[in-house]
Symmetry: C2
Subunit: 449 residues, 2 copies
């Protein structure tokens, strides 16, 4: 079975790493936030390793943590990811380019245009990670006094998706005739005016861009709450999962597939890729020691800040050595918060222990030799806990080099990962069909052929 099903690998990136202590690790580039040349080298290495996609995290505000934590965090500043991925499109030819964009604080016409443009520029490699934006401080940067209600954000997201995909279908693939002799550039009968009027959005269209190379850029979603799973099962091509144990991963995988069947979707039309933090060593002990060294670089003030940010509630005033008290409901992202509260209860963790986990990385981690890591990834694939992973490198460039130079060859040796790209588009890498144009179904693939 393993020979027919292979892993899909995305790289989930922040320029310095997602780990709060990474900028202090020996050999790290603390200034990578604005070091375009360094990021270009990272993506070139990932493309040479045949990764499916390069995936940029994003925040629409400085992270909402106390200033004593914030001042220790390299995450305070970085490139806007869509701009960065557009720049990287010109430096690569095969790897997918997935950018986060919010349905809560942006306009569907803008989002549809940008991702369609990136898909044309990259010749079919764009992906849109739909988020509803959990950071409540973001609302304050966009004219609101407080954050929009969690469920209301998902209602808007669902309609937003319909509008964006409808705009992508504005032109049939065969609309552009370019008949020089007769001066006819396109056939207006092959253009659709969307004229959307919904409860949240009113958008006339058509989009002023030809249909994307992939039909629609790949739709990625990470929401793990009930409305998040519902939205993903109905609309996503890729789920950015967050389960930290194989048992939880298998339950999530089965749940999403069940929900897809309910919507009449074939479960093979979605790829579930949990986040995985990977630390490589010559021995398992060495790998664990490297991780411990990295974690030791997280200042307590920084850990408590990350914990507050992930909970959506400032916990810096509580006793570090006491338990996590009951904290009030907020409108921040629910699933991350619930995972922390569950872990705190189950393992009787103190605030200090929770802070250490939050500042380092508390989710799924593969820490060991290339063989140990490949064993773990293979188990998740075979047991249907996932279709691959969004790999997070503990520090850069070293952690990325370790993965590319040592883990990827081991996965290839086992037949678990491609040695060459077979297709050219991100949908082809992921084994996903090109969606039909809802307004011009018969024109499909005429241009692509």
């Amino acid at each position: 079975m393993a020979a027919t099903r292979q892993l899909h690998l995305g790289a989930f990136m922040r320029p310095v790493s997602i780990h709060t202590g990474a900028w202090r690790y020996p050999g790290a580039l603390p200034d990578a936030n604005f070091n375009f040349a360094a990021i270009r080298r990272y993506i070139e290495r990932l493309e040479a390793a045949k990764f499916d996609a390069f995936f940029m995290a994003d925040h629409l505000a400085v992270l909402n943590m106390p200033v004593d934590a914030l001042k220790r965090s390299h995450t305070v500043t970085s490139f806007e990811p869509f701009t960065l991925l557009s720049a990287l499109a010109g430096a690569t030819t095969r790897i997918g380019l997935v950018a986060t964009a919010s349905t809560t604080f942006d306009e569907p016409y803008h989002i549809a245009r940008r991702f369609a443009s990136l898909d044309h520029i990259s010749e079919g490699r764009a992906g849109w990670n739909i988020v509803t934006t959990a950071n409540p401080d973001a609302a304050l940067n966009f004219g609101y006094d407080s954050h929009l209600d969690h469920d209301a954000r998902y209602v808007r997201a669902r309609e937003f998706y319909d509008v964006v995909t409808g705009l992508w279908d504005s032109f049939a693939d065969d609309a552009f005739i370019r008949d020089v002799d007769n001066g006819l550039y396109f056939d207006p009968a092959r253009m659709h005016v969307l004229d959307h009027k919904g409860p949240e959005l009113k958008v006339r269209g058509p989009l002023n861009i030809a249909r994307p190379v992939q039909g629609w850029p790949v739709i990625v979603q990470a929401g793990a709450s009930d409305p998040g799973r519902q939205l993903a099962a109905e609309t996503a091509d890729v789920i950015f999962g967050a389960e930290s144990t194989l048992a939880a991963g298998k339950a999530f995988y089965a749940d999403i597939h069940d929900r897809m069947r309910w919507y009449g979707r074939d479960p093979s039309g979605i790829k579930i890729l949990p986040a995985a933090f990977v630390v490589v060593g010559d021995t398992d002990e060495e790998a664990r020691a490297r991780r411990a060294h990295l974690d030791s670089l997280v200042h307590y003030d920084s850990g408590i800040g990350s914990l507050s940010s992930q909970l959506g509630y400032d916990v810096s005033g509580f006793d570090p050595d006491g338990p996590l008290p009951e904290i009030p409901e907020t409108n921040a992202g629910r699933s991350g918060r619930e995972r922390i509260v569950e872990a705190a209860r189950a393992k009787n963790l103190t605030i200090r222990q929770l802070a250490a986990r939050a500042g380092s990385y508390a989710g799924l981690a593969f820490v060991g030799t290339p063989e140990t890591i490949a064993d773990g990834m293979e188990e998740w694939l075979v047991e249907r806990g996932s279709d691959g992973f969004n790999v997070m490198f503990p520090w850069l460039p070293g952690g990325l080099d370790d993965f590319v130079d040592r883990v990827v060859p081991e996965l290839q040796r086992r037949g678990l990962f491609r040695r060459e790209y077979e297709g050219t588009t991100l949908r082809e890498h992921l084994g996903l069909a090109r969606p039909a144009n809802r307004f011009f179904p018969a024109s499909d693939r005429l241009v692509a052929a």
Copy 2:
């Protein structure tokens, strides 16, 4: 005098050319709208010719013209310019990158982030062309039933500019300490929370991006109406002018300088670059014949559509051989409309003649040999009609090649244009100072130095 003052040259681009007939010209690339490789070659040629900037036009809707005209227009579809310029940033090292973005239909936090990102990625080459969006159909793509009032758009634009530049100043240039030993990434005393609460916008900040390389990306404006001139005199670094005669150009130039003095600005802090359509030939006659050939490729339906679009009013039902009737006031861009009405009255032009002008190009044009063209440009520079031009190539790639291969060397021979870039940023190309940080004036240039 001419030896000390030199021309600044921007290339005002659409992928197929701004001319409606250009896609039918022999040797043109009718599919250039989505031909990234072709556009990359264009910018590489312009950079080799030492152009100050590459400037992308934009529209937030399919142009509002009757479908019989629209179907003949290559402008119906193209890349979103910011995405395209970001991709081109990776392919170039010196030329400036100016993208249009609307203050009417976007959020200042997004605009500030994107242009700051492009400025970091390109190492100081970003420019923002502030527009208030004249196309009334754009409003329908962003949730509105009708277009926002012209003056209200300028009120919002002025406040929007304050917010964006304030967000760019969120961090002092020396804020980022990156003290690895002590785990201190930045000095929070060197971060400013904007906390803007104005009549149109409420934005907390700070921006989650270090100050741009240029301090602020170059601010470009094209509005020629009274509120547009006012906004430009107060805030712009570059004005994209539209005067079509030297007399009008000189009056505009003097008017802007007068308005700047009223605001206490040194007039040398602004560069006025009118749009100029340039057709090169071996003789003046040949150049005129080439232009006539190009204009002949504009279908009447297309010309009448362009005219309607420029007037913001559908004139396709009027007698083609009659005069332009009185048309009602609209909320579309005023200055373009007024120029057309004035020309119609002054020269007794029929609708058909106006359509031919609108579909080709009715503004300032230099049509002749390289010497004739250089004479014209020199006259505008010396007579203070402009500080250079935003050159529009009649067709691509041929018209661009003609300019780069033949006109640029003639300008260089006369000492009117650089032979090498002297600086690295767009501000340096234009001879413009790096703005001080309004919140941390003393930190200026510490990082840049």
